[in-house]
């Protein structure tokens, strides 16, 4: 195993050397004798680049990839071409539509609707109060209950949310980060109540707190304290819930916050390495826990760069795990990921166009070999989606899967000169970022210094400028615009959910054994105060005593303090 800093340098040099060796004679001739005269004739001198500033040439040839050392097939190290040898022939991706709004009853109905329409995995969105760990009756929750997702204030709500859903047959994804340990405890508690053994529970909880500090910014405590709770979840779930993916390392939000493809790739994988080190430091066996780390990427409009990003991610993960972390073999090496099409690419103007954008992005996700997919609905620049809009989005996936034939061959674009070139370029850019992040003292230190946040904000500003200056076209926004906007029907979530949730909490606080709640919260405090103790067990007890989400998070706020982000602007 090489010293960290040396390892990244070594990789950068290795990749640079491959490039130098490439032989361009034939291409140079073509450029001079054929291309240049033609460019003159067609009056073409435009220069193009990808979102990550990779120059795009007029055409690519064998010479661009002849130094490729990676000759792997699908299902082979370093898994550039896919984690499984037969890919979608063996198993199609899971069609997993993210949903949630209003009360737990509302979301329970939507989940059942999606199952009825052929969805194969559940994915639950929570509202802002839940994401931040505030109860529905808190002042801060005013106007926000149920607006952006389902509100969960206690185990009672989780019981309603999961009513009549066979937890041993579905796989459930919960998009929750700061309070991930608490929501996992609630999910497990509902299963226990229904006599379903915890080791049968399949699903994913996002838990990726690092990307919260970097991009989505929904946190409760400072980074180190959150990471300790993640460590405890990793230990607990490895032992008790072995089919539960307890961290979904997310590039999605990093991209939505404005980064480019290379930044999404690099920052996400750097976070991945950080969780890996966390587990190793906690004494977990890498081959046991690392397969439970999965990834979640964005897929946006720059078609080929996105596909290349997925391929590069798999190659880098496998290579670094083997070379730097000593994982010789096993499923941990094969990076698996969920994809969501880009919300930021959707436009408010001419919303029906978003169906097309989503279809193109979804196709790139599939060609990139995703294991599960959420397709956004066309009305989501306006509001949470209506049922009709969700159905079109789900049908988009079904059309790709059933009508286009793209799933018949694994990594069908592998070997494309252009795509392979982009894969190599993104790989190199990622290694440069890893080196930079390490030079700042690692991911957490880079967060504390605001480096990652500033990098993203800079890219976001530059791409907005490009749109304003019409260097980048967004159809319906800065080109092909219309005076009159198309009218679409949008989903309105009223404040009824808030009333219902507040009343339910009132009732809950009357009905529960408040002494038991106090005792459970006291024990949780002691667990939080003792860094060597695993806090999951006391979290579960507090949840089962019907302590509310906020009561639990408040204990943490008290013990750990709150996080103030470094100045970004």
């Amino acid at each position: 195993m090489l010293e960290t800093e040396n390892y990244w340098k070594h990789k950068i040099n290795e990749l640079a050397k491959l490039k130098k060796d490439s032989n361009n004679e034939d291409v140079k001739r073509w450029e001079k004798e054929v291309l240049e005269p033609w460019n003159e004739k067609t009056n073409n001198n435009e220069e193009y680049s990808t979102t990550s500033d990779i120059d795009v040439k007029t055409s690519y040839s064998k010479s661009d990839i002849q130094t490729n050392k990676d000759k792997s097939m699908p299902g082979e190290f370093p898994f550039t071409r896919g984690p499984y040898p037969n890919m979608y022939r063996g198993k199609k991706w899971t069609m997993r539509m993210f949903s949630g709004f209003g009360t737990p009853e509302d979301t329970n109905n939507r989940l059942k609707y999606l199952i009825k329409n052929g969805q194969t995995g559940l994915s639950i969105a929570f509202d802002m109060p839940t994401l931040y760990g505030y109860d529905a009756d808190n002042d801060r929750s005013k106007g926000e209950v149920g607006k952006c997702g389902c509100n969960i204030s206690s185990l009672k709500d989780m019981e309603i949310l999961l009513k009549d859903i066979p937890l041993n047959q579905v796989s459930t994804s919960m998009t929750i980060n700061a309070p991930a340990s608490i929501l996992t405890a609630m999910y497990a508690s509902v299963a226990s109540k229904n006599n379903i053994p915890l080791n049968e529970l399949r699903g994913t909880v996002q838990t990726d707190i690092l990307k919260e500090y970097i991009a989505q910014k929904e946190w409760a405590y400072p980074p180190k304290d959150h990471m300790r709770i993640v460590r405890d979840m990793m230990e607990y779930c490895t032992k008790e819930m072995p089919k539960w993916n307890y961290v979904s390392i997310s590039g999605y939000h990093i991209r939505e916050a404005g980064s480019n493809a290379a930044q999404e790739l690099a920052f996400t994988l750097a976070n991945g390495f950080t969780y890996l080190e966390l587990g190793q430091k906690a004494g977990l066996k890498t081959e046991e826990f690392a397969p439970r780390l999965s990834f979640f990427f964005n897929c946006t409009m720059n078609f080929f760069e996105e596909i290349a990003k997925f391929r590069a991610a798999r190659r880098i993960w496998a290579t670094v795990l083997r070379e730097k972390y000593g994982v010789e073999k096993g499923p941990a090496l094969a990076l698996r990921f969920h994809t969501q099409t880009s919300g930021a690419s959707l436009t408010w103007q001419q919303p029906m166009n978003n169906i097309v954008r989503t279809a193109i992005e979804a196709l790139a996700g599939v060609l990139g070999g995703t294991q599960s997919l959420h397709t956004n609905s066309f009305d989501e620049a306006w509001a949470l989606p209506t049922e009709q809009a969700v159905k079109v989005a789900l049908r988009t996936q079904q059309i790709i899967a059933e009508e286009t034939g793209v799933i018949q061959s694994a990594d069908p674009l592998g070997g494309s000169y252009y795509l392979e070139h982009l894969t190599n370029e993104l790989e190199e850019k990622a290694y440069r970022y890893f080196e930079k992040i390490d030079s700042l003292g690692g991911v957490i230190s880079a967060i504390e210094k605001g480096y990652l946040q500033k990098e993203i904000a800079e890219t976001a500003y530059q791409s907005q400028l490009a749109i304003e200056k019409e260097k980048e076209v967004v159809v319906g926004v800065n080109k092909y615009t219309e005076e009159e906007e198309d009218k679409i029907e949008i989903l309105k979530v009223d404040d009824e959910a808030q009333k219902i949730q507040v009343n339910r909490l009132k009732q809950l606080k009357k009905d529960r054994d408040n002494n038991k709640v106090k005792e459970a919260l006291d024990n949780l405090r002691k667990a939080y105060e003792n860094n060597d103790k695993n806090c999951m067990y006391e979290t579960i007890k507090a949840v089962q005593a019907y302590a509310t989400l906020q009561e639990i998070v408040d204990v943490g706020r008290d013990v750990f303090g709150e996080w103030k982000e470094p100045q970004i602007f």
Binding site: M128, G143, C148, W348, E468
Partner: protein
Amino acid sequence: MERTSNILNGNHKMSRKIRILVAKPGLDAHDRGVLVLCRAFRDAGMEVIYSGLLPTPEQVASIAIDEDVDAIALSLHNGAHLTAFPEVKKYLEEKGANEIAIIGGGIIPEEDKEELEKNGITGNFGPGTSMDTIIEHIKKVTKK
């Protein structure tokens, strides 16, 4: 509070740059837009104060008064604009800072715009609005 009295004097604004507070008054950390706007406002010659994440409407009003701003640009993507934006206005009025202009933006459905306008919150720009449009609007509403 010395600065507050400055506002009350009213005539200091002609000679200085537009001072603007940018804030998201709620549990909403979708800050890509506001960070871009902060840069754009600064590049347009304004003095920009960014509240940082997760202030309450009351805190936003206090910062605005302490910083003696001409305008507040509020953004929300979480559907709470009808509650949170008027609250900022309410706190400003309570503290006697009626003349600070409030400009809204974010994911605001057409039918909510009228309601916000009634509360004295102007602009209410949706996604895809050009930065120039927003900057022009701010210049207009801060001109006394």
